[in-house]
Amino acid sequence: MRLRPKSTNGFMTRNVTAAASLGISTRLEGPPETGVCLGESSELSWVQVGGHILVLSGPSSTRLPNGVTLSRPSRRLPHEGDRCVVGEGQIDTGAVRIKVIRWWDSRPSLSPVTPHVLEATAETAHTLLGCESYDALAPALGSSDPVTIQRAMRPLLGRGEGLTPEGDDVLVGVLAGLRLLGPALGASSAKALLDSIAPIILLDAPLHTTSLSASLLRHATAGEVAGPVASLLRALTGRGDLETAVTEVAAMGATSGTATACGVLLAAQSLAKGVNV
């Protein structure tokens, strides 16, 4: 096949193409709605529209479950207070119109795994990461009692610093772990447990933590996680190299990746033990 040497750009210069998570496709593909940019850091901006938070960032950033990754560097990102019109596959910030031309799936499909394998991989990852105990969370998860678990989880909401406080990251890991590893183990009880815990946590989240963090908790409950966390989950079930996955997840953010991974491992260990019993 032959192509001419140089492409012509079909869009005007103020158009930027982007890739986005399927986790926000309903909002992005829906009818146009006006939102507002709630904040920005050097690498990303986040926009609230309707009940959704969209995180806009440059091409090399981590794929977040609520992420929109622009194909060009981040100087075109909206600034705090900017109005954005979101819908029909586009985000118009006034300065640029961002058109989504690629989607990624933040919800990993996991292969079936035995409790024995999961316990072993989780143990290895736990050692590699050097996870903390996060107070009463581990024993609470072991109890399988929704009230005890909620009681252990709630103090972690908003605990720590930054855009996604460390405590929230741990909770993201626990929720996503329960949602995705339960079915992989064939542990139907995990879903029931999650369904009774998650609504309370999600209800509390906006009161105790940042809107960005609250959004990530909601996506985690649906099994939608950042790219490196998805790789870790797959590796825990035996797909892909575990050590690489641990290294990559630990490299995410300052502490975010490690904290999220440790949350996933807490869920993995409690589920594996629960099934063993």
Binding site: M1, R2, L3, R4, S7, T8, N9, G10, F11, T17, L22, S25, G89, K99, V100, I101, R102, W103, W104, D105, P108, S109, L110, S111, R239
Partner: protein, 476 residues
Amino acid sequence: MIDSVEIRPGAYYDSVRLMQASQALQLVPDVEDALVAMGTDLNRELAMDMGFDPGSIGHAGPNDLLVAIRAVDEKAAAAAIQVLESTLAARTEPGAGVFAAPPAHVIGSVAAGANLALISVPGEHAFVEAMDALRHDLSVMVFSDNMPVEQEVVLKKEAERLGLLVMGPDCGTAIVNGVGLGFANVTQPGPVGIVGAAGTGIQQLCCLLDAAGVGVRNALGTGSRDLSVEVGGSSTLRGLEALDADPSTEVLIVVSKPPSPEVAAKVEAAAADCSTPTVLAFLGEEGVTLEGAVGQTLDLAGKPPPVYASWPAVAGDHRPGYLRGLFSGGSLRSEAAVIASGLGMIGHDEHAGGHTLVDFGSDRYTLGRAHPMIDQRLRLQHLEEAAFDPAAGVILLDVVLGHGAHPDPASELAPVIDIARAEGPAVVVSLCGTTDDPQDRERQARLLNEAGASVWLSNAAAARHAVSLTEDGRHE
């Protein structure tokens, strides 16, 4: 002419900088000769050989800087000293680029951390690059055509040995984890996986599935010769195996031209072995269409078949005559040929006369020219010829959107379609695209429709419509 000799005790500079200084001084106007060097025996001798006064040179030691200048006058000598000072003082600012890697020339030097290579160098060079990619642990998509088949066989054997995948050569379309490579439509990653030797066939499947709300996560192109006897379906079988093992793939489609019987048997056996339900679409076999394959797939996925979008033309007369198909996609042409088989003989090239379906994407039309999905000029020319050809009754066109394709095909086609409609033949367009494609499918459809074409999302539907118009014309 004056000689100026200066000894600077204890002023050490490395020899390179001093050679630079000597050379800079020689470029100063009216400076005849110059030597800037440490006062070693060798350099003192050199200065004396150049004719400088041994008396003034003699006491320089190896740790002293010897500056000897011969100039036309004092002014030139002073200028030389100034140049010397600035040369000796010069420091290159360590710019941000100190550690920037030079451009990479070979795949191996940038392979770390990557998992796929996309190779589109001229065909005679593609094999070496593709082998390099495999040896660096990358799967490969070879977009290039014209790779000798024996090289393809070697390449695919090596890929099997290393546990990697080769897509191609002559692979125009692939989707890997939702990322479109080459010519590909924008589709949300979903439960369907495709393995195909047919580029626009894959694109049509993606578009129709997208219209039904079903996404395609991976579409692994295999290259046009994969199911030949020589290649033996190597990439098709590997692709099937990998997608079958992928927990996110729920339904599989294999699409290709009809393979040789022995390879067909292998593929059928492999498909039967898959734990994932698999649809086989050997396009060109009687009754096999892309639309039909999508129907079976939706059935397996438990989804109802949709009514595919169409933009009917305003009713109007067209002159009776032959069906003239001007395609850019080979698989779209094949599907149309299956549907039009009832018309009788169908010609392959524009000179055939009678009913013709021409694939302008085939080698004989792309030699020395860009693919018609990017450069429409040749097709526009033939469209205009068909418009003025009294024997042409119905013109059938495909318009393929998506990554890699022309950014706005309809704006070029519409004026010529307009002419065609004025001249008499009906124009039917098969529009292969999704709502998320960068070209804005709705706008493309509207432009074509306003020019007088009837536009169909399903290529099979477009072909059926074109055939019925042709038959109507015949009956008149």
